[in-house]
Symmetry: C2
Subunit: 683 residues, 2 copies
């Protein structure tokens, strides 16, 4: 934040007229009226506002807050104790069936759960392991017998449990796990076996210390036939420790989330009754006959896995909450902290008044709003499927694609936002008391668990390619050729720069006119949508020869497009975020709020376009002049307009001081500045 005006050399630049690329900010462009913080806050809380408020109220209690002075064992015990406390306060059973004491409220359950991040991400994930993974697996993969037999003790925490899916050797590729469950018709039991070291279950919460049982995913074998991955309810521990045949290891200290006892499990001839197979999607009769309501092995697997989508949904929401907290801290501090003298030698500048500081924080604020609105849509889709209101195959596939795309972006964004916020607070940001480093450490693994983001984005890309292919289904060769020829023609135009030249002629001499063509909502939408469509069409065309190639050649071809596939999926998910933000604008009643949120949406949309400016230039979607105008518009218009509203925009997140708990965002910095200023005034 050094100002350059102290340096005499910068004033010796020769007195000739440069092209005045940057226009002065239009006077009066920033509205002096304030946004309606309360109404915006309600909108952000969304459809499940009551669940969120209940959870937030509860989480003001420091009994739930992370303490940084505990040993590893103490942290684990504290968090385990907090689970009981959450249970006692009616905070965690909303998703379970009414007949067992729940509320059958899937959306509200996740909404309330996400807010736990403000207390301690370890507590969130530990609760998620117990009720969200272990309990949900029994609920969604089991049938009435399992619900009646196992759920009450899971819900009451009498049986803490692990979700034993991942193995040391296989994480995101669940279909390839090595653990087997072989049916023995003589005793009507399954024999659970770990065949080699890589097949040890690994990274399982509750496995190292607290778990008494586990839902174990294993390759079901009956009548000598492998039937693919199924889930089994397996007791693993009693008061004396591991049960016979079960062994394990502690994963030890991790990069974060150390309130959770992650560990490893392995099985040697562990027998469970036939009825411990969670048999909603596949069953074995006493004589060993396998049956399933889903004929295709692949579809069966994906259906089972699909019931577990709520993990991704809730991580997306947790990432939103953490991002809001980070920006609440950094923007509050940035609005009070002063550093370096600019114009007025008597007073240093507030750091958020520097362009670079705005560049660092305000686009991330816009992203957080987009993430928040997008998450609300995801939660609605999730509730639709799990409440049974909208539960077709297509609904489930849409939900899974949406969850995969949004979770990938938001968990990565949260790390970026936490880190930039930490750096924007300098040394103070590095102190544990200001929470940014610990939140970042805890959320780190969100990018790779519940599906590695890199893998998830490939699932999204697969879906995009599938949808693209459907467009052509049934079309005759001539029609198809026509469509593709149109694209080729488009590509030729892109390359030649003819479109750009046309834009240049239109825009020449007017930055205002240039940006006028891209800053409105429809232009943003067209640019963002066009990129996704063009990328998908391009990849599909390049993959076409794979259909007739050898497996080796086809694999090589796919691999040579892997990077672009992932980028296309990212572009698609960004578009969904942008659309969610845009849809949210129409719900804003207060005109000042709507104006400010529209600027914020524009900042989000134009920042997305700016990040991929090269693509838009190469493909002739933007002229050089319009591309430049986007950056200028962000720097010279949007940032200065939004700056006065930054504090209100983080105030609307609705956190109480007990949620924030960072001394630098408590007003302490303002008090120090005032004291220093008073001292200077006296001299």
């Amino acid at each position: 934040m050094t100002r350059l005006d102290e340096n005499p050399t910068t004033r010796t630049v020769p007195p000739v007229s440069p092209p005045a690329r940057r226009a002065a900010a239009a006077p009066g462009a920033a509205t002096s009226e304030r946004i309606d913080v309360a109404a915006l806050g309600e909108q952000l809380l969304g459809r499940w506002a009551e669940a969120r408020k209940h959870s937030r109220e509860l989480l003001r209690d420091d009994a739930f807050h992370r303490r940084s002075d505990l040993t590893l064992d103490e942290q684990r015990e504290r968090v385990f104790g907090q689970l009981q406390h959450l249970l006692d306060r009616d905070a965690v059973l909303r998703a379970f069936p009414k007949r067992l004491g729940g509320l059958d409220d899937h959306g509200g359950n996740i909404a309330a759960f996400e807010e736990i991040v403000t207390a301690d991400p370890s507590l969130q994930i530990k609760a998620g392991v117990q009720w969200g993974l272990f309990g949900s697996a029994v609920l969604h993969l089991g049938t009435e017998y399992h619900h009646d037999t196992f759920l009450p003790a899971i819900m009451s925490l009498e049986v803490p449990g692990a979700f034993a899916m991942t193995e040391t050797g296989h994480g995101s590729d669940v279909a390839s796990i090595g653990t087997t469950a072989t049916y023995d018709p003589a005793t009507e039991e399954f024999v659970i076996q770990t065949p080699f070291r890589a097949a040890w279950k690994d990274y399982l919460g509750n496995a190292a210390v607290h778990g008494r049982a586990a839902v174990v995913f294993a390759q079901l074998v009956t009548d000598g036939q492998g039937q693919g991955v199924h889930a089994f309810y397996v007791p693993i521990r009693d008061d004396q420790g591991f049960l016979p045949g079960v062994g394990g290891e502690d994963d030890g200290l991790k990069g974060g989330l150390n309130g959770i006892d992650n560990g490893r499990l392995h099985f040697d001839g562990v027998r469970v009754p036939r009825t411990n197979l969670l048999n909603r999607y596949g069953d074995v009769a006493p004589d060993g006959t396998y049956s399933s309501p889903i004929a295709s092995k692949g579809r069966r697997f994906f259906t089972m896995i699909g019931t577990l989508v709520q993990g991704r949904v809730s991580l997306d929401g947790a990432a939103v909450v953490a991002s809001k907290l980070a920006l609440k801290i950094a923007i509050t501090y940035g609005s009070e902290r002063r550093q370096f003298t600019a114009a007025d030698p008597g007073r240093e500048e507030v750091v958020l008044d520097y362009q670079r500081h705005q560049r660092r924080l305000l686009p991330r604020l816009a992203t957080t709003y987009a993430m928040s609105f997008a998450h609300e849509k995801l939660l609605a889709a999730f509730d639709g499927v799990f409440s049974g209101e909208h539960d077709t195959d297509a609904d489930r596939q849409d939900l899974e694609t949406l969850a995969a795309g949004l979770k990938s972006l938001s968990t990565w964004n949260a790390l970026d936002i936490l880190q930039e916020s930490r750096e924007a607070c300098g040394g103070a940001g590095f102190l544990a008391e200001n929470r940014l480093t610990q939140l970042r450490a805890d959320l780190d693994v969100y990018a790779t668990f519940e599906g590695d983001n890199t893998v998830l984005l490939q699932l999204v890309a697969k879906r995009l390619l599938g949808d693209y292919a459907k467009k052509f289904r049934g079309a005759d060769a001539k029609t198809v050729a026509g469509i593709v020829a149109g694209q080729v023609g488009q590509a030729a135009t892109d390359r030649s720069g003819l479109r750009r030249l046309a834009q240049n002629v239109t825009d020449r001499g007017s930055t205002g006119r240039a940006v006028g063509h891209v800053r409105d909502e429809e232009s943003q939408r067209a640019l963002l949508t066009g990129r996704v469509e063009t990328m998908v069409a391009g990849i599909a065309a390049r993959l076409r020869p794979a259909a007739k190639a050898s497996p080796v050649e086809a694999a090589r071809l796919f691999d040579s497009n892997q990077n672009e596939l992932i980028e296309a999926a990212r572009a698609h998910a960004e578009l969904l975020q942008w659309e969610a933000f845009t849809d949210a604008l129409s719900e804003v009643q207060d005109p000042v709020t709507r104006t400010v949120l529209t600027w914020l949406r524009d900042l989000f949309g134009l920042s997305l376009i700016e990040k991929q400016l090269a693509w838009y230039l190469i493909h002739g979607r933007l002229s050089a002049q319009r591309a430049t105008a986007i950056t200028d518009y962000i720097d010279d218009r949007l940032l200065p307009r939004l700056r006065p509203h930054a504090l209100d925009l983080v105030e609307a997140f609705g956190f109480a001081p007990e949620h924030v708990r960072a001394p630098i965002a408590s007003g302490a910095e303002q008090a120090r500045q005032d004291e220093a200023a008073a001292h200077a005034a006296r001299r």
Copy 2:
């Protein structure tokens, strides 16, 4: 790393010919011969190879290694104990004068010091506080009296000390600190005073527990006149605790580096003898008369601060070592780990064979090589100045600019490399035993201490503007107008796309020909250099009106260019890295090694250009076709060519297993894969 060939929908893309944008990798492009790992390793160790080897040999001893099972207090005591151990093993006094038992070896001292990162960054920084900051301040800001009086006890660790520069209210803006040192001629003492809370010294290593003395930076006041910031040797603690008038606080837990006892200090009427002023650049006579060998207050301040450049130099080197460690771990694991089946249904694919995995790790490997070679140049510049061999004002300014630029890039890069390496190792990367999370947590603060990177890049930008202005010094108005008109004309051509069209005509129809025009060394240099020059000229032109503007207007103008100033500085520092890498190529004897390193340099250079592709397109430096060809050349040529050499390229970093200490990089994964494969073969 999902492969897409399982998905039938991707095969239904219609059978028409798309433009074959991606050429197949040329057969035989990757050399099957191996690089000369030993020779390359020596080259990387550089001019101070012996010092590095001595340090590395020492650091194999687990007495120096970080332990993760200690409480905060235990960590601090352990690291403090390790300082004595380093001293006993002759590891830390190379930079001190021969007459006091040192070696007057400045480059070797830093080289040996940087390697401590492999043991524990806390140990590195704690040693840096004692001998590099506290000791160096006495050495470089003091004179013979101070050397004789204070250095022996500092060197021997008899007096552990703090470097009390930063205050809660002022970090990078040292000139504005609030602590005062007022001369009292009656007693010939300075009175050290903290006037308000924001002027407390803060974040000081050794301040919370171990420090017995401090070099305190304060505004020197004598005869009622402020003479600016000077440094004073101030005892702060004895066996009973703080000395009278001294107070403090513990900074407590931090995001990392918890082996160091950072804390706060404040002073109330603390008196030290006049001779405790470290008086090399400014002195006060017994009667209170101030004198200095440097007349300008500003230059005096920057000269004093400049002597402390070694902190930045050593952080740059430490970031290089940490980046090498991260890639050693991630590339070793990525070469053994298998996940998802591609072509061969019997065996899963090695993850580093996936394009995306290569995209994640290999450009970062190239960056690490560039950082390493650039650091070697920085170290030589540092040694030149501090040995007195090349110690003009210009040399010092060059050194400071180089250190500011390289430290900013390398510390940010290290965080990015550590994080990508962690994610590339999935859940295993999140386990503390695999070290990536802890290294990242420790290095986090490297981005904001010893000068916040954002501030440092602005110092670099200032220098670039200054140099630019000098070009015009003495030129008459007509010449200047001519030069600038040329630039304006250039800009007009850029915008019109005429240059791009010319490139298109030349390149049409041949991706190979298109990339041929940019992939060679001279084209890379021209593109990278041209960007820096154009950006600087553009900013200088836009800042021109500041010379005649009011202070408020001038400040506004500077601020509206702040973001671009920082980007220009970054581009400049990247160019320096690229040049260092390129210079290093000429020293490679072995032809295979030189070929492979040239590919790696090309990957670095083209990745830099790819990252800023929009700029090159907007400014007409690249056509759309050439821009596209760069990405294709990286994906289809450079990554596949470098892949077979990836293990050798990290082997050349020369780490012993005791430096790496990550179970996932120990061969354990290979053993697990072999066992699983053997199991599959038996079935």
